[in-house]
């Protein structure tokens, strides 16, 4: 199976090429078959490869497949090569499976869109890029995937380009992530220049040999990588593009802006964990960014009206959790949460998509409501996702992954109770906004007409994802709950585990109970506020401080306005002020000076004979003067 590894990105890429080049000539059905089928085939190959990887691991638990030498100049020899290890196996499984499910869903969801073919082309390209990103064996090739997913994100956010806002959001997303990418690019330069290679495993090996822990170079390299990760994963302070990115079609949001691309930053940090281990300071920053973003995103999600923006802020917040885990060195926990998050968040998006489809793009939750009866299937799957997001204890996948991260945040040598506290607070907020969303959308009185219900092609992926979001948690459970650990040891071959903290079952249990309590109470509060006493939120908003806070959170903590003020406006103003190219005035000035000289000299040509004679005489006198006197 391993020799088929190249097929995994190649299949979706082929799908893209076929649709892009023949798009106009293909029937819709054919487009769907190719678009979905290519990813499905990739998923099958991935499963096969993963199965073989688990059953018969390659020597050294990693395997490299070189396709061709990309370029060779001096020491710079990045290859177009794929590298399979436990981490990438996890990634490709999630990407292909979730990707396949979402594409399947889209086959129906996008059914009426006039640019049906383009959609599948872009989505296939995205999946291919994401797989390249996951499988790349060197940072240069990884960068290709990295930018590739960014491109597809751009294309798909702006998919409905006829709305200016959508196109603007697409542009914003690309540009903001590119700001982060500069960091990644410079990291590449730094790493290559000081280590002489970009091959990831080699980089880790050499870095460990040549760089001392906490050395400047290591810190710088890690910090630069972090820049890239922050941009891509929509973490503070580069998070502002994500909520706007919801302008894209909902499956896009599900796949790109929830399940896969935005977690590329997490993947990158996990991938280069060796460098981060050498830079403890940066790693702490990762954790702090994580906590900051998870609170920021959560609080913003709490007051949004647009259902997709809630989910966007929620994604931001959940990735914040992953960053927190990465920051404390809980690599596998982060990846675990990545997987469960991919399942439940894409499920939520798909559910939201079904709702939007039914209500003719009514995104405002306050104008929805009471859909529980109308759309029971959607409701139940949505609740499954929301429960997992809210990490309702024991029965949801989200609970296990979040619990693992929080526990690690407490116990890891790099962790601290403060980080735990942030995470726990976040858990409360998460539960609150998750169920606020559920209650506002599905409970209460009905305010909109349901015109369409999801058909089987949409239901199947939703169902499968619902199952996955509930049961994915059992890959890894705490000791007192069976102590299943499938994922950590598996990932252990690629990611270093945490040093074994001394077992504190009582403490662990206590903390779990505490967070569970927080989650459940969050749900209850949501019920009280949005079902039992819907007037209370309004009353809170009526208070001055409450209203201000609501506005502040609603706008995503005002980041957009700040950036507008300190970056965009000055740039545009400078650019427009200099539209005529100030340097050119130098040269036109020169030309003007010549013209002025011309006209003043022309005036000496009076046409008068005596003036001319005077010129001759003056010249002669001057000549005598120069020759005789000098």
């Amino acid at each position: 199976m391993f020799e088929l590894l190249w097929l995994i990105p190649a299949l979706p890429l082929a799908g893209f090429l076929v649709i892009a080049l023949m798009g106009g000539a293909l029937a819709r059905r054919a487009v769907a078959v190719i678009g979905v089928g290519s990813v499905g085939a990739a998923a099958i190959v991935s499963v096969g490869v993963a199965a073989q990887f688990i059953s018969a691991p390659p020597p050294g638990d990693s395997l490299t497949q070189v396709l061709w030498a990309w370029l060779e100049v001096g020491l710079l020899r990045p290859h177009v090569a794929l590298c399979l290890d436990a981490l990438s196996v996890t990634m490709i499984l999630v990407v292909t499976v979730v990707g396949f499910l979402i594409l399947l869903y889209s086959a129906e969801f996008m059914g009426d869109d006039e640019s049906y073919a383009w959609f599948f082309a872009y989505m296939d390209l995205f999946v291919a890029s994401m797989l390249i990103l996951a499988l790349a064996d060197n940072l240069f090739f990884l960068y290709l995937g990295w930018e590739g997913v960014g491109l597809c994100s751009y294309l798909l956010i702006g998919f409905w380009y006829k709305e200016r806002e959508n196109a603007r959001a697409a542009m914003k997303a690309f540009i903001v992530t590119r700001v982060g990418d500069v960091g990644l690019a410079v990291a590449l330069l730094l790493i290559f220049t000081s280590l002489g290679t970009l091959q990831i495993q080699e980089v880790m090996r050499r870095a460990a040999q040549e760089w001392a822990v906490g050395s400047n170079t290591a810190t710088l390299a890690a910090a630069l990588l972090l820049c890239g990760a922050v941009g891509k994963s929509a973490q503070a302070p580069l998070q502002t593009w994500l909520p706007d990115a919801m302008a894209g079609p909902t499956p896009v949001s599900a796949l790109i802006h929830a399940a896969t691309m935005v977690t590329a930053g997490v993947y990158l940090i996990a991938r280069t964990n060796g460098l981060f281990s050498l830079a403890p300071a940066v790693q702490s920053v990762v954790a702090i960014i994580g906590v900051a973003t998870l609170l920021l995103g959560g609080l913003s999600a709490l007051v949004q009206r647009d259902i997709k923006r809630v989910l966007a802020y929620s994604t931001m917040s959940q990735i914040g959790y992953m960053f927190l885990a990465l920051g404390v060195g809980a690599w596998s926990a982060a990846i675990f949460h990545f997987a469960t998050h991919a399942f439940f968040k894409s499920l939520l998006f798909l559910g939201a998509g079904a709702v939007l489809l039914a209500t003719d793009e009514q995104r405002d939750m306050f104008k929805l409501g009471g859909l529980r009866a109308e759309m029971p299937y959607t409701f139940w799957t949505f609740v499954a996702g929301a429960a997992s997001l809210a990490a309702l204890p024991l029965v949801t996948g989200g609970f296990y992954s979040k619990d693992m991260m929080l526990w690690n945040a407490w116990t890891s040598p790099k962790g601290s109770p403060w980080l735990w506290l942030g995470g726990a607070l976040g858990a409360l907020i998460t539960a609150l906004y998750a169920f606020r969303m559920v209650f506002l959308t599905f409970f209460g009185e009905r305010k909109s007409v349901v015109s369409r219900r999801p058909g089987p092609i949409m239901r199947i992926p939703m169902g499968i994802l619902a199952v996955l979001s509930i049961f994915a948690g059992f890959l890894e459970t705490p000791g007192w709950l069976g102590g299943m650990d499938y994922l950590s040891p598996f990932l252990g071959t690629a990611l270093p585990g945490l040093p074994h903290a001394k077992s504190q079952p009582a403490m662990e249990l206590f903390l779990q109970a505490l967070t569970s309590l927080l989650c459940v109470s969050g749900v209850l509060v949501a019920y009280l506020l949005f079902v039992a006493h819907p007037e209370v939120p309004d009353r809170i908003a009526a208070i001055k401080a409450g209203g201000w806070l609501q506005g502040f959170w609603f706008s995503g903590w005002g980041f957009d306005r700040v950036y507008e003020f300190i970056v965009v406006k000055p740039f545009v103003r400078i650019a427009l002020a200099n539209r005529g190219d100030v340097v050119d005035t130098l040269f036109t000035g020169l030309a003007r000076a010549n013209e002025a000289l011309h006209s003043s000299l022309s005036r000496t040509q009076t046409g008068k004979l005596r003036d001319y004679a005077l010129g001759v005489v003056a010249g002669a006198v001057l000549a005598i003067g120069i020759m005789v006197l000098l």
């Binding site: 590449l188 330069l189 340097v583």
Partner: protein, 525 residues
């Protein structure tokens, strides 16, 4: 003789196309196209030979060489030579000439035969520049190519064509004459030191020049190349010329003329004045980075689509300048790849702008909106080249820019980081362009046809080349590699030799002024 044919063929074809006009304009176009394909076949044939001959040990880096006496009294010879570097650029020249003919197919309706003659004459001059290894011959091609270019802009250009053509000519001429003076200076310095007065590149490369003199001479060369490249602040001719030129003119300007500047830097400036160029490198690199930013910011501010693309060229050529002055293998290779890819991607963007203008009779951004709906094929092609211009991996420009960055980082991390930040600005203007033209609701009144097969094939081929260079750049890198490595070795060797030599420059001001100022009544001879 193959080299003479390489130069003469386009000219002959041009004349033929001119004559053919009498039998119908269509014939003129076909003649030009067919001739260029023959030329392209010759180039490809040479390229196919390239690795075999290149790898033969003991050979000079010249693949083909031709030396005839021209003006022996002055040490000027008709000396042409081809190596990997020139091969690549000649191939680019012919390729873009074909693109130029194709994109003018419907745009040029007046004096078609003459147009093709002028176009091919320009290309002749440019190919000559890439092949000449006698400095005077080089200069002759350098200047001679301006005349047809000028005529092209002034005749088939847009509203302000005369102004633009004039500006272009004056800027280039100013730089060119300074270079001529520097060439002569080099000639005399070398001649006086060795007794052989020659303009031959190979021999002059061995000249050892006092550092102070070398700096002045180097600046003379730099003036010419910096104007052509163009490096800020000598760039202001470019937006006007590019904007006002007919599409084919813009393609040739952006795709080839600018490359002659980069080529000159690599081929002549550094190898002839290694010490001075290295000493000057910090300033040049600063100019390069300023250019990257300045061009990008101005590109963003433009309302004329063509001007936008023109300013983006300034930004991109900043990478070339940076790469050359870093002068290590990575950066040089990057500069070469960047030249190739910029030629094609910007050329393609100009072609698209030309197609738009042909259809809607304007280049003004405010009068465009939502054209994706009307012309998705055009939009997709524009997007691809815009992405190339913002340095998307997988497309050729990325390879060029990143090789330059890798090379630069070893020499000067600060510059590399600054240049990398410049890429963000490239993203800004590229996406802005796409956004303004193709996205948003469609303007109701505007309706036009999407690309026809001729236009589509042309752009798809150009896109394919960009993609090919992006994914398989090794072929191009291997072609230029031996030359670049040889030049690098030469420079390294010279610098080592020069190190420690005392500076024996004449610095007397009056000597420099060329006038011995009389002092009092002392007139002793």
């Amino acid at each position: 003789m193959i080299l003479v044919w390489l130069i003469a063929l386009p000219l002959l074809v041009g004349i033929l196309a001119w004559i053919a006009e009498r039998r119908g304009v269509g014939l003129s176009r076909w003649v030009a196209l067919a001739g260029l394909f023959v030329e392209f076949a010759i180039v490809l044939r040479l390229w196919a030979d390239h690795p075999i001959r290149m790898l033969t040990p003991g050979r000079a880096t010249w693949l083909v060489e031709l030396k005839l006496a021209w003006i022996p009294q002055l040490g000027i010879s008709f000396h042409l030579a081809l190596d990997g570097l020139s091969l690549l650029l000649v191939a680019l020249a012919v390729f873009l000439a074909i693109a130029g003919v194709l994109c003018s197919w419907t745009e040029i309706q007046e004096r078609v035969g003459f147009f093709h003659f002028i176009l091919l004459a320009t290309v002749t001059g440019i190919i000559g520049i890439f092949l000449a290894v006698d400095l005077i011959l080089f200069f002759v091609f350098w200047e001679a190519m301006l005349v047809p270019m000028y005529i092209m802009i002034a005749t088939w250009g847009h509203e302000h064509r005369r102004y633009a053509a004039l500006k272009f000519f004056l800027f280039t001429q100013a730089g060119g004459l300074l270079m001529l003076a520097a060439i002569l200076g080099l000639y005399f310095v070398h001649g006086r030191a060795t007794g052989t007065y020659t303009f031959d590149y190979g021999q002059l490369m061995a000249a050892s020049i006092p550092a102070g003199t070398a700096m002045w001479l180097m600046l003379g060369f730099f003036a010419a190349f910096a104007v052509k490249l163009p490096a800020a602040p000598f760039h202001t001719w470019l937006p006007d010329a590019h904007t006002e030129a007919p599409t084919a003119g813009s393609v040739i300007l952006a795709g080839l003329l600018l490359k002659t500047g980069g080529y000159g830097l690599i081929r002549f400036l550094f190898p002839l004045f290694p010490g001075a160029a290295s000493a000057f490198a910090p300033i040049a690199m600063t100019l390069a980075v300023i250019g990257i930013f300045y061009g990008a910011i101005l590109a963003f501010a433009q309302t004329d689509l063509k001007r936008l693309v023109a300013y983006s060229s300034i930004s991109h050529m900043g990478f070339v300048l940076l790469g050359v002055f870093v002068w290590n293998e990575l950066a040089l290779q990057g500069a070469v790849v960047q030249m190739l890819c910029h030629g094609i991607s910007t050329g393609a963007l100009f072609i698209i702008v030309g197609q738009l203008q042909e259809r809607i009779r304007t280049r003004q951004l405010p009068r465009m909106r939502g054209f994706w709906e009307t012309a998705p094929r055009m939009g997709a092609m524009a997007l691809i080249f815009a992405l190339a211009s913002l340095g998307l991996p997988g497309l050729g420009n990325f390879v060029g820019e990143f090789l330059v960055l890798f090379g630069t980082y070893t020499a000067s991390p600060g510059m590399a980081i600054a240049a990398a930040i410049g890429i963000v600005l490239a993203t800004v203007y590229s996406l802005w362009m796409i956004y303004r033209v193709f996205f948003g609701p469609r303007k109701d009144a505007v309706k036009f046809d999407d690309l026809d097969p001729r236009e589509s094939i042309l752009l798809v081929v150009m896109g394919a080349v960009i993609l090919w260079v992006g994914l398989f750049p090794q072929r191009a890198l291997d072609t230029a590699g031996p030359t670049l490595r040889a030049l690098e070795r030469h420079v390294a060797g010279s610098t080592a030799r020069m190190a420690g030599k005392p500076d024996t420059t004449e610095t007397s001001l009056s000597r420099w002024m060329g006038i011995v100022l009389p002092s009092g009544r002392d007139r002793d001879r």
